[in-house]
Symmetry: C2
Subunit: 213 residues, 2 copies
Amino acid sequence: MGRSGVPDPTDDTPAPRRGRPGYDQATVLRRAIELFNRQGYEGTSMTDLAKELGLTKSAIYHHIESREQLLAAALDEALDELTAVVDAAVEPSASGTADSRLRTLVHESVRILVDHLPAVTLLLRVRGNSPVELVALERRRLLDEKLSNLVTAAVAEGAVRTDITPELISRLLFGMVNSLIEWYRPDGPVPQQAIAQAITAMAFEGIAVTQPE
Amino acid sequence: MGRSGVPDPTDDTPAPRRGRPGYDQATVLRRAIELFNRQGYEGTSMTDLAKELGLTKSAIYHHIESREQLLAAALDEALDELTAVVDAAVEPSASGTADSRLRTLVHESVRILVDHLPAVTLLLRVRGNSPVELVALERRRLLDEKLSNLVTAAVAEGAVRTDITPELISRLLFGMVNSLIEWYRPDGPVPQQAIAQAITAMAFEGIAVTQPE
């Protein structure tokens, strides 16, 4: 990043932590999300953000309108991605069975959690303590409703068991997917594709060996 | 609770929010955990705790040694319960197959999550920002290791599939269990026993219908 303050998109070395670095908005957002995840959104002040970015308390407002604006941008990043894959799976013109679309959606969800891990982590820890958070929770609720409807459609096809309600299946299935944020590390031993396959296999076939080996 | 400050265990009406209520330690802990879960541990000051308990800033130290001490007590509550059921499942003298002990452990874990929901919720959101949190994370890691070993034993019995590593099965299985804290409500429509059965059925048999109905 140049000393002029003009972002240089080809330069991804860390900005120096003195003077008045010319952060681009994407970098500010990324660093803010990391800080929110590390010490909690409620536990992060503008002073903390300024320190994290190597800015003075007066310079921070040149880069950040408010904590809430950063939180909203972070939650939108996660929600926009998740909404896109959920809508693709449930839209009336979607091709394939509900069962196959549900399986694809599990894979796509894992991809988004991995690719947007910090933003999704922040989203999944939102409590609803501000208007921004309440809007995010409402968008999550709509996603949950669509997921549950997709499971209901898979049940109607005869592809999914009927002794557990579609709502509960949906919650447990995506609870398993979402647990990724607790233990997935980008440099860990299990590649993303293997995790998506493991989750799909566990959720659809179960872990019990049912046929003699 | 009496005005003398001596706790009356038969009286569970809320203490008055003025003067200097004589909270017992269990009540202080319960209210503190609720506040930590609502606004985050990092976002909760001694002033917040005093306000929540209707105490002055000077009186609060009569009831609370420090925020850390409350956090430690809360995390111990969750960890002691979880450790007890995990140890019962993995101790060398435990009877039954590893497979049956794993199924029992899923049920027992659901029971503890439901019975100690606020404390477990706090535990599962711990980030490791203090010595108290690091100790809790280390205890969680030991539990994860025992869970993974139990799955390994069930694989060795031929009861559990071999194409997913025991570590990953363990993480996903208890990820599904732990997702309870995100959506379980004590007054919700699904009783605890039904949730434990649904999780066990999903995890072991899967949700796919494999036989013609």
